[in-house]
Amino acid sequence: MSAERPNAPVWVRDIAHARAGDKGNTSNINVWVYDPADFALLKSSLTAERIKREFPQLVRGEVRRYVIEHLHGLNFVLSDALEGGVNASLNLDSHGKSWSFLILGLRIDSAGS
């Protein structure tokens, strides 16, 4: 962690921003750090395994993580994670647009657990 930060970041939202989108029943969430110095922390905290483990009921398929090293971002692809997809889900947010804030609402955990 950078020494000049007044408070150590607690939530992913403290260091990163994100956007979620849908294709069929697959959700993808891209996550970007504001400060490149935080990218290593983001990578260690948000592993594909952790995302799958945090939301076992929601994410029924596999989670893939793509690392965009030079832009300091991660892209998570969550298959079978939209309760059937935009036309079938009875969730008020049938696109899963709010899934970005599921990720931003996670605690930072450098062990990725």
Binding site: R13, H17, A18, R19, G21, D22, K23, G24, N25, T26, N28, N30, W32, Y34, F55, P56, Q57, L58, R64, Y66, I68, H70, L71, G73, N75, V77, E83, G85, V86, N87, A88, L90, N91, L92, D93, S98, W99, L102, G105
Partner: protein, 448 residues
């Protein structure tokens, strides 16, 4: 008119079916655009459009088409801007004819309106066709199929532009292809120049959602603030002959274009950044460079491309009956407890009295709704709303659900109020892949 000989200016005037109109008019008037693109079609929208067309053969195109054309046609003609849109949805021919009517009424004689057809492949696809991303075939669909539309690429659009169209209207034109086609025409990019096609596809992908790259869908107060979001401007791409581009917006509009807004859009609805499939190219966004080059000016470069897929994706729209939704609100002390009790009563009553248990969902907005399945219980509000949703092919069941929820006003927990209930048509979609050779796009030009 172009600012310089080899910089091509494309603006977005809609990023989805219900996007704003007045900022699009402002963009055309002040943007000195070569091309304005209105992207108005999604998987759901085209299925609903087929439903509209079945109800009335003169409809089935974007509901705001006439309104948009009335406002934009005069501005586009005055600025010399070509418009490209997929507002034709399930009925591009009718959309082109309505546009022609609007142009004549406005006195825009001689306006050339190209209609691109051939995306509707309903009659061409066999029932044994397998689904793209799940087990099963079309033969497994037990509900009426509304329509099947192949995603058409830039090769379907370029002939319209080359033919001198002022307005290009199609149905399922792929989103980025509407940007790529005029770039290919202007910059002379050939269909086998995969690196140029990848670059143009990046521009299209960044631009296709309109304000999602100029600060829309970005604001998170206190963390990611966006100036004057109320007056957010649509984006402009200034695209050089080598495919690099500057993304910007008009001066004196709200919003912002920053590396962060561009990054969020870069991978929006993208899975593998190295393999983004479109009808035109397998685009590679994995090495894209993003660089701020001035206030609200971000330069993007270094997208690449590889061979296009041999197949085209087809969206199959299916009539799924009805979506019924109903709610009652509770506020004050123990509101969440009362709301939960209401939900338990409705669930039990629907099952015991009416045999309704499947395709039913009961949420408590303010306590647990969007994140219910994710298992993230939020802190409970003392102002909550019971929300019941039911998908059914039986209209009577939909009406019974609304009745049960409304009955809570006398038979449910104390203090419930604000019942509302709606029944709307429901569609589902599936995806299949078809051989490219099967799909034969056509272009016809109407003159106002």
């Amino acid at each position: 008119m172009p600012m310089t000989a080899d910089v091509f200016r494309i603006g977005t005037g809609a990023g989805f079916s219900a996007d704003r109109l007045d900022p699009a008019v402002d963009l055309v008037r002040r943007g000195a655009l070569d091309v304005l693109v209105l992207e108005c079609l999604g998987e759901r929208t085209i299925a609903f459009a087929h439903r509209d067309r079945k109800a009335d053969p003169r409809r089935g195109y974007n509901a705001h088409l006439e309104c948009r054309m009335r406002a934009l046609l005069p501005a586009c003609r005055a600025a010399g801007t070509v418009m490209i849109t997929n507002m034709g949805a399930a009925n591009p021919r009718a959309a082109a004819e309505r546009t022609c009517d609007v142009a004549r009424k406005l006195g825009l004689t001689g306006l050339r309106i190209a209609c691109i057809a051939g995306d509707d492949v309903t009659a061409l696809v066999g029932r044994d066709q397998p689904f793209m991303d799940e087990p099963g075939t079309l033969a497994d669909i037990d509900r009426p199929i509304l329509g099947m539309n192949a995603y058409l690429g830039a090769d379907a659009i370029v002939p319209a532009i080359a033919g001198g169209a002022d307005i290009v209207i199609g149905g399922r034109l792929a989103d980025p292809s509407m940007f790529l086609a005029p770039l290919m025409h202007h910059h002379g990019w050939q269909p086998d120049d995969e690196s140029a096609l990848g670059a143009g596809t990046l521009v299209g992908h960044l631009m296709e959602c309109g304000m999602q790259i100029t600060g829309g869908y970005f604001a998170d107060p206190g963390v990611k603030d966006v100036p004057d979001l109320t007056r957010c401007g649509y984006p402009i791409a200034e695209v050089a002959a080598d495919g690099s581009a500057v993304i910007t917006k008009l001066p004196e509009t709200g919003g912002c274009v920053t590396s962060a807004t561009v990054k969020e859009q870069l991978l929006y609805e993208v899975h593998d950044p190295g393999r983004y499939l479109t009808p035109d190219v397998t685009a590679d966004f994995s090495s894209v460079q993003i660089e701020s080059v001035g206030p609200d000016r971000v330069r993007v470069a270094n997208a690449r491309g590889a061979r296009r897929p041999d197949t085209l994706k087809v969206t199959v729209g299916i009539d799924a009956g009805f979506l019924a939704e109903a709610g009652v609100s509770y506020a004050g002390p123990a509101a969440a407890a009362r709301g939960r009790l209401a939900g338990e009563i409705v669930g039990a009553r629907l099952q015991e009295a009416h045999g309704i248990a499947s395709d039913l969902r009961i949420d408590l907005i303010g306590a647990s709704s969007l994140f219910a399945t994710a298992g993230r219980a939020m802190s409970e509000s003392d102002d909550v709303r019971l929300h019941v949703a039911l998908r059914t092919t039986d209209r009577e069941q939909a009406e019974l659900m609304l009745w049960e929820v409304e009955s809570l006003l006398c038979c449910g927990p104390a203090g419930g109020g604000g019942f509302r209930g709606t029944i709307t048509p429901s569609v589902t979609t599936k995806s299949i892949l078809v051989e490219r050779a099967l799909v034969k796009p056509s272009c016809e030009i109407l003159v106002a």
